[in-house]
Structure formats: structure tokens, C-alpha cells
């Protein structure tokens, strides 16, 4: 150790000499000790030994090529945590260091005489059982001949510092990771919140994964409910195309399909050896290292898969980020789907409404059914659609083609009508909707001779949708059939639309048939009105002619007989003629009644006051009888003649039935909402309540005709005319207290 000291070239050691710390002690001590006597040397050695032993820094001194331990101080023992056998090679104490390269360093220092300084070297000691970090110096000690005789070691445990620094680095990395994750989830949040389609939203998510998770590329597939095929919705990074072999992945096939089926993530940091990776050659060529695929799960249902390849290994943080991303994408898809469904639902309703309005307006059945077929074909996205009437032949087989859409009618005309096969029967039986992705694979298909399926040259139907059209009374009117040459074209939405159109169709067809029925009734009514006109005409001529003859003949008899006629006979002839006149009046009454309210003219602006004044002049009551107009009379917009007829009948009725010279009739009219209420009051004997209904009937009179000449037609005509205008007529009266006849008449009539 003396030899080491005189080299003096190691600044770190010599500089320490002036310091009071233990580590600095040995070299200057040696320098001072060299010229002493052996006793002095021994004393100095003991002194040095004691200094070493007391030094607060861990020191061990080894001697010889086998590194026999010569001296070890307490701090060193504390440092290594075990007993060190003095006088024995260090290897015996620390066999575990054999594999850690420590002895190689010691051997090197011993052989070369070059000191070694280690910084933060990790060492695993048996005693501590953990890796610890040390700063140490292996200082060769030279003998008087200058040869290396031993090695002195100063060691410091810096584990805590190293760990602290490592922790700091990890924390920084973690922070960076969290920042990435936050940025990622922020981007996802934007994608989910925006008014984007599912596809656009997923595309943004995939791009965010590439930006923030070191993905070489990321892809997201979705799985529709009821479907067995994952559809690629987004692809970002190195590959962005959405077609090709990855576009549609069946559940259970390839690594993506397996993730969906197992509902478990698949993660690897060794893509090139992973048996699930389909093209490992490609992975090697592209330098792909890791793969992470997660199922997208909502309510324990797999609704998609997201996956990424990366050229760097997956880190813990990335995995946890992926986990939460998978969750939020799944929820995002679910929400978007719900939104889309709600939107679709309202859009569907809207379309159906429009179709409904359109077809409801069509009353021609042929055009109607064509319109129904056309719109349903368009709405379902079918290549062709047809409506078949549910008319079964004697053998219970054929249906009648009614309309076709999407292809010319000739496309079907070569073929016999569809028959009552297993495919068609459920529709014509009204059992429900048949929607098949591929009808050729359906068990019901191809069971009937002679064709066992579609005859050759038939429109190529693969996707098949059939909806029964059922009338309100439950009768199956027919069926709407849709076809498409591609598989799986008809979605649940198409089905909903077709069902909606079918419902509208049945209502519209019911309406159309009601309309036809109404038209038929109207024509029948018109005919019957014509008959009535004819009847009236015949009546006026043919029934009146004989009457006139009787009247004339009776008068001629009376004239011709002259004085020869007895007073009785003369009276009888007079009575006969009066009855002839009555008959004549009755015939006029029938005519009047049959025409009342039926003949419509043009409405005009009518001053009720003026009309009544004219009427009163026409009626010309013989004084002291009088007709009085009361209050302010309104102006109507109405047809003149019928109103005049009604008022005339009531006024003449009132005058006639008052049965007193000073008959007083008061007419008033007041506006009452859309109607004008007229009242004709008289001071006659009144009408007992039990007759209030009876008086409105045709040919009903309350007096013997010989007392008051009346046909009993006036009030019947009043009622009929008033009611034909939407008004009503009624009477208020008590026997002996006069009568008040009321009727209402529209203020404003629509032009006919």
C-alpha cells in the first residue's frame, strides 16, 4: 500500500488527503510513514489500521491475486450486511458476485495496476437479497518494488439516489403517457360528441390511436345486431383503405373474428412469432413488433373489434389506455347507433307519412296500387317489387300479378303466377313478414315441382322480402314482394318501411273501395232524383189533366142544366169542384216538396229586411191583419229563392192559422254565430205541445180541410229546405198563447 501512495498521480485520492474524512487518510499517512523504523512502522501500521477501522466510509483491503481479505471495517460490513472472512479470498465471502463480473474487474485492476472507478453499478448481494447500486473505487496497492500487492476498495451505497432518480424518470414517463392518454381521450370525446356518422367517428378514433399510441395502423370493425360478420369501419395510419380481405370478417375467423367470438383482448409483443397473426412474413418485412386487439363490448354484447399493430412493444400504459379506449368506443358506437335509430325512426315516419299522404289522395285503384308498389320498392332499396292480389285458383295455387316496379312488366309475363308454395304461403295467409338474406339458402325454397325454385330466366332474386297487405277487416288483400340480386340487402329498416307502406296501402285500398262504393251510391241517388223529377213531371201533367176535365165537365153540366138543377145538386157540384181544387193543390204540394232544397242556385248578398218587405207586399195581409218586422235585420250571403219560400210559408201559415181578423205576425232575425236565427211569431190559438212534432210532417194538418184550406205541405217544405242548408226548424207554443216558429239559416253560404 505504500507503493500506491507515492505515485501521487491520482488527484481524487491525493486531494482527499487534506480532508479530515477517513477516506482521505491512507495515502498521506503512508507518505509520512515511509522513513520510520520497523517499530515505528509497526506502530504506524497499527495506527493506520485503527484509522481504517474507524473510518466512517466502508473500506476493505485485499491482498494477493486471490484477493485475500486483509482488512475490513465496520461500515463495510454494514454495507454488505454479512460477515467477511478476514484472511480468506473475497470469493469465498461473495460467491454470488462470480456471475456479476466483479471479480473480473478486481482481477483486471490487480493485473494492470490501473484503478477502477465504478459509478452506480448494480450489485446483487445474497445478504440483502435485492439489487443495490454502488459507487466504488478499486485502488491498486503497490509494494516497495512497485508491484501490485493488493487492492483497497472504497464503496458507497447510492441505491436510494439511483432509485429516486429512476422513480423521477418513471414519473415523467408516466406523466407523458397520461398526457397522451388525455389527448387521446379528448380527441375521442370530440369524435363521439360530434354530429358525425359512426364511420366518421370511428375514423377519428383510429387516427387518434395512431397519433397517440405509437400504432403503425389502427382499425375498427363493427358488428351489427343479428349479423355474424364484422364490418371494417375505420382504418388509419399506414393503411387507410376499407376494402379488401379485412373489410368483412366473419365472427370466429382470423384473429379479429376470434377476438369477437371470445370477447377477450388479444395482445402480443412478439407478432412475428404469434400463431394468430396471419401473415408473419409481412409482419417481419414491415418490422411489426406488437399487436393489440380488443373486443368492443356493451352490456356484455360484442358490437365490434378495435386493433392496432405497432413497431414498438406495447407498454403498460398503452395497454391500460387501450382498455379504456375500447370501453369508450363501444359506448360511443352504442350511443351513435341509438341516435341513428332515433333519427332513422323519425325519418321513416316522415317518409311513411309522405307516402301515406300521396297514396291516400289516389282513389283510382290501378294507379294507387302502382304508386304503392313504386314507393315501397324505392324505400326498401329493392331492385324490383311487385304487388300480387290474393286470388287463389281452383287448385289453390295461382296468384294474380297486379303491379310491378323496377323492371318492365314483360320481365314477369313469361312466367306463370307465383303459386301457393312454402315461400309465398305465409305472406298470402297474412302470417307475417318474410325477410331472408338469401332465399336460395332458405329451407322453404325450391320444394315445389316443376322448377324447384325459380324458373330459368326469372329475375335473379337473392335477397327476399315479402309483406302481406291486410285490410281493416282482417282479409289479406295481397302481398308486396321485393327482390334484389345481392345477398342481405333488406335491413330491418327496409322491413319496417315495407310494413308501414303495406299498412298505408291497405287503408288506401279500403278507402278507394269505399270511394267507389260512395260513387256508386251517388250515381244511384242521381238516378233516383231523375226518376223523382220524371215522377213530378208526370204527376203535374197526367194527374192534373183528369182533374181539370172533371172541373170543366161539372161546370158545363151546371150551365147546361140551368134552372133544371136542384139546389142540392148545385151544391154537390160545387163541393165536387172544391175537392178537385184541393187535389190540384195537393199535387202542387208534392211537387213543391220533392223539389224543396234540391235545386241549388247561386248565393247572393241578401238584405233580409228588404226581402221581408217585398214578401209582406206580396202576401198583402188584409187589415187589420198585419205583418211586422222587428229589430235590425241582418245581411246574408245566400240563395234567395229557398229562403223566400221558407219565410213565405211561415208568414202565410201564421196569417192563415191565426184565425182572427186582427192577426199580428212578427218577424225577427238575429245573428247567432255562423247562423241567423229567424223567428215568426203569431197571436193565433197556438199549438199544443203534443203536436209540435207532427206539424212538420208532410200532409199533416191540425184542422179539417173544409175549415182551413191547407195542404199540409208548407211546414214540411220549410223543414226540408232549412235542413238542406244545415239549419234547423222548431216551434215554441202552448195552446191558446200564439206560436213562435224558429229556424236557423247560414249567414254565409258557400258557392255551389
Amino acid at each position: 500500500m505504500n507503493s500506491t501512495a507515492d505515485r501521487g498521480e491520482r488527484p481524487d485520492v491525493s486531494s482527499n488527503a487534506s480532508e479530515p474524512s477517513g477516506a482521505a487518510v491512507p495515502p498521506p499517512a503512508e507518505n509520512q510513514l515511509r522513513p520510520q523504523h520497523p517499530e515505528d512502522v509497526e506502530r504506524a501500521r497499527a495506527h493506520l489500521h485503527s484509522l481504517f477501522m474507524q473510518a466512517p466510509a466502508p473500506i476493505i483491503v485485499m491482498r494477493g491475486p486471490e484477493h485475500h481479505v486483509e482488512l475490513v471495517n465496520a461500515p463495510y460490513l454494514r454495507l454488505v450486511g454479512c460477515d467477511v472472512r478476514v484472511g480468506r479470498p473475497l470469493r469465498e465471502t461473495f460467491p454470488e458476485l462470480e456471475s456479476q463480473g466483479i471479480f473480473d474487474i478486481l482481477d483486471g485492476v490487480y493485473a494492470s495496476g490501473t484503478p477502477f472507478e465504478g459509478k452506480e453499478l448494480p450489485v446483487l448481494l445474497r445478504a440483502s437479497g435485492e439489487e443495490r447500486f454502488f459507487n466504488f473505487v478499486y485502488q491498486p496497492m503497490r509494494g516497495t518494488g512497485g508491484d501490485v500487492e493488493g487492492i483497497m476498495t472504497f464503496a458507497y451505497d447510492v441505491t436510494e439516489q439511483v432509485r429516486a432518480r429512476q422513480q423521477e424518470t418513471r414519473a415523467a414517463a408516466f406523466l407523458q403517457q397520461r398526457q397522451k392518454e388525455l389527448a387521446l381521450s379528448a380527441e375521442m370525446g370530440v369524435a363521439f360528441a360530434g354530429a358525425l356518422s359512426i364511420r366518421d367517428m370511428l375514423h377519428q378514433c383510429a387516427e387518434a390511436m395512431v397519433r397517440h399510441l405509437d400504432a403503425a395502423f389502427a382499425r375498427i370493425w363493427t358488428l351489427e345486431e343479428g349479423s355474424n360478420v364484422l364490418e371494417l369501419q375505420a382504418s388509419a395510419g399506414q393503411y387507410t383503405h376499407l376494402d379488401g380481405p379485412h373489410a368483412r370478417v366473419p365472427v370466429g375467423q382470423f384473429k379479429i373474428g376470434l377476438i369477437a367470438r371470445e370477447a377477450k383482448p388479444h395482445l402480443t409483443n412478439d407478432v412475428q412469432q404469434d400463431s394468430r397473426v396471419g401473415d408473419r412474413e409481412w409482419a417481419k418485412r414491415e418490422g411489426m413488433v406488437s399487436f393489440a386487439g380488443y373486443p368492443l363490448i356493451v352490456d356484455s354484447k360484442v358490437i365490434g373489434v378495435m386493433a392496432m399493430f405497432s413497431r414498438v412493444p406495447l407498454k403498460e400504459g398503452t395497454l391500460s389506455a387501450l382498455n379504456s379506449i375500447a370501453d369508450s368506443i363501444a359506448v360511443g358506437i352504442q350511443r351513435k347507433r341509438a341516435e341513428a335509430r332515433a333519427h332513422e325512426e323519425s325519418e321513416t315516419l316522415d317518409i311513411l307519412n309522405k307516402v301515406g299522404q300521396f297514396i291516400a289522395a289516389e282513389l283510382d285503384t290501378d294507379k294507387l296500387v302502382q304508386a304503392i308498389t313504386d314507393s315501397a320498392t324505392r324505400l326498401t332499396g329493392a331492385q324490383f317489387g311487385a304487388f300480387f292480389y290474393n286470388v287463389v285458383d281452383d287448385r289453390g295455387e295461382a296468384y294474380t300479378l297486379y303491379t310491378i316496379s323496377g323492371v318492365p312488366r314483360e320481365a314477369f309475363s313469361k312466367f306463370p303466377m307465383p303459386r301457393n308454395t312454402k315461400v309465398f304461403a305465409p305472406t298470402f295467409a297474412g302470417e307475417g313478414v318474410v325477410r331472408v338474406a338469401n332465399i336460395r339458402k332458405d329451407p322453404r325454397y325450391g320444394q315445389n315441382p316443376p322448377y324447384h325454385g325459380m324458373p330459368s330466366g326469372h329475375l335473379p332474386v337473392v335477397s327476399y322480402l315479402a309483406v302481406p297487405v291486410v285490410s281493416r277487416d282482417g282479409r289479406v288483400i295481397g302481398g308486396l314482394f321485393f327482390g334484389h340480386g345481392k345477398e342481405g340487402v333488406f335491413t330491418e329498416r327496409a322491413e319496417r318501411l315495407a310494413v308501414g307502406v303495406a299498412a298505408q296501402a291497405s287503408i288506401a285500398m279500403d278507402n278507394a273501395s269505399l270511394f267507389r262504393e260512395a260513387q256508386r251510391l251517388i250515381r244511384a241517388l242521381e238516378r233516383s232524383n231523375q226518376d223523382l223529377d220524371q215522377f213530378a213531371y208526370v204527376t203535374s201533367h197526367d194527374l192534373k189533366a183528369p182533374l181539370r176535365g172533371i172541373a170543366n165537365l161539372s161546370q158545363w153540366i151546371e150551365e147546361d142544366l140551368g134552372a133544371a138543377l136542384s139546389a142540392d145538386s148545385r151544391k154537390h157540384l160545387d163541393l165536387m169542384r172544391r175537392r178537385v181544387h184541393r187535389m190540384d193543390a195537393l199535387i202542387d204540394g208534392i211537387l213543391q216538396y220533392s223539389r224543396a232544397g234540391r235545386v241549388r242556385g247561386m248565393p247572393e248578398t241578401l238584405e233580409v229586411g228588404r226581402l221581408l218587405q217585398e214578401l209582406v207586399e206580396l202576401v198583402a195581409p188584409r187589415p187589420p191583419a198585419m205583418v211586422e218586422l222587428q229589430g235590425e235585420l241582418p245581411v246574408l250571403f245566400t240563395e234567395r229563392v229557398p229562403l223566400q219560400q221558407v219565410l213565405m210559408n211561415l208568414i202565410t201559415n201564421a196569417l192563415k192559422h191565426a184565425r182572427r181578423e186582427d192577426a199580428r205576425v212578427v218577424v225577427s232575425a238575429v245573428e247567432d254565430g255562423d247562423f241567423c236565427r229567424f223567428t215568426v211569431t203569431d197571436n193565433g190559438p197556438g199549438i199544443a205541445p203534443e203536436f209540435h212534432e207532427r206539424i212538420w210532417g208532410i200532409f199533416q194538418t191540425l184542422e179539417a180541410r173544409d175549415k182551413v184550406e191547407g195542404t199540409g205541405i208548407g211546414l214540411a217544405v220549410v223543414k226540408k229546405v232549412v235542413e238542406s242548408r244545415g239549419g234547423k226548424a222548431w216551434v215554441e207554443s202552448a195552446a191558446g198563447a200564439g206560436a213562435r216558429f224558429h229556424f236557423t239559416w247560414p249567414m254565409k253560404e258557400r258557392a255551389a
Binding site: 201533367h541 189533366a545 181539370r548 176535365g549 172541373a551 170543366n552 165537365l553 161546370q555 190540384d584
Partner: protein
């Protein structure tokens, strides 16, 4: 002035004759039972040509009054013939049809003979005026 009465009702014919008597109308009166007969009598000279007046009922068998009028107006020899409708029909349609066919008058048959006599008197005045040069 020769008068052709186209009328199927015997009592109505008597009515006209009696009313003429009562009004001392001495013009010759020819009677046809329906339109066809009336046309024949006009064309074959049964009713002498020259001044002629037709009193026409509307409702008759075989050929009614309107049909008769139509045939008259299409016949160049008869197109200017004076025709007065004498009918029970108060139908708007009949009146319009008759006036379209250029009738000189449309008279409703009164129910009583007295009234008919008055009507005949008015008729007489009418054709007397017509006859004046």
C-alpha cells in the same frame, strides 16, 4: 185564320170549343190528337194554307208538343208557323225548350172554365192583332 188544335184530351178540346163559342170566335178549328197527326194535317193541306195558328198541348202520345215543334222548325214550309203552347206543364224545362223553338206564347191551362174563357178572349185579341195588315 185557321186554327189547328193539337190536343189529345177530349175534354180539353171541348173546353176550347166552348170557350170559343162563349167568346163568339168563329174561326175554323181543326183538331189533331197528337203531333204526328198535326204535322200531317199541316203538310197535306187539311188545314188550309195561308193564315194558320197552332194551339199546342205538350204532353201527348206518339209525338209530344216539343217534338212537334222541332219538326215544324226543321220544315222549310212550316218554319214561320205561329204556335202557342197551351199546357198544364209549369216545368221550367218545357218553357225553355218551347221558347227556344220560337213559340208565340206559353199559356198554362187554367183549372176553371171561367178562367179559360178569359184566356181564350186574350188569345183572340192577340191573333186579331197579328192578322192586321
Amino acid at each position: 185564320m185557321n186554327i189547328l188544335l193539337v190536343e189529345d184530351d177530349e175534354v180539353d178540346v171541348m173546353n176550347v170549343r166552348r170557350a170559343f163559342d162563349r167568346n163568339k170566335i168563329a174561326n175554323p178549328v181543326y183538331v189533331a190528337e197528337n203531333g204526328l197527326e198535326g204535322l200531317r194535317m199541316l203538310r197535306d193541306g187539311t188545314v188550309p194554307r195561308g193564315r194558320r195558328l197552332v194551339l199546342l198541348d205538350l204532353n201527348m202520345p206518339k209525338m209530344n208538343g216539343i217534338e212537334f215543334l222541332r219538326a215544324v222548325r226543321q220544315d222549310p214550309d212550316l218554319v214561320g208557323l205561329s204556335v202557342v203552347v197551351l199546357t198544364t206543364s209549369n216545368e221550367e224545362r218545357d218553357k225553355v225548350d218551347a221558347y227556344k223553338l220560337n213559340v208565340a206564347g206559353y199559356l198554362l191551362k187554367p183549372v176553371t172554365f171561367t178562367n179559360f174563357v178569359e184566356l181564350t178572349s186574350a188569345l183572340n185579341k192577340y191573333w186579331t192583332l197579328v192578322e192586321m195588315p
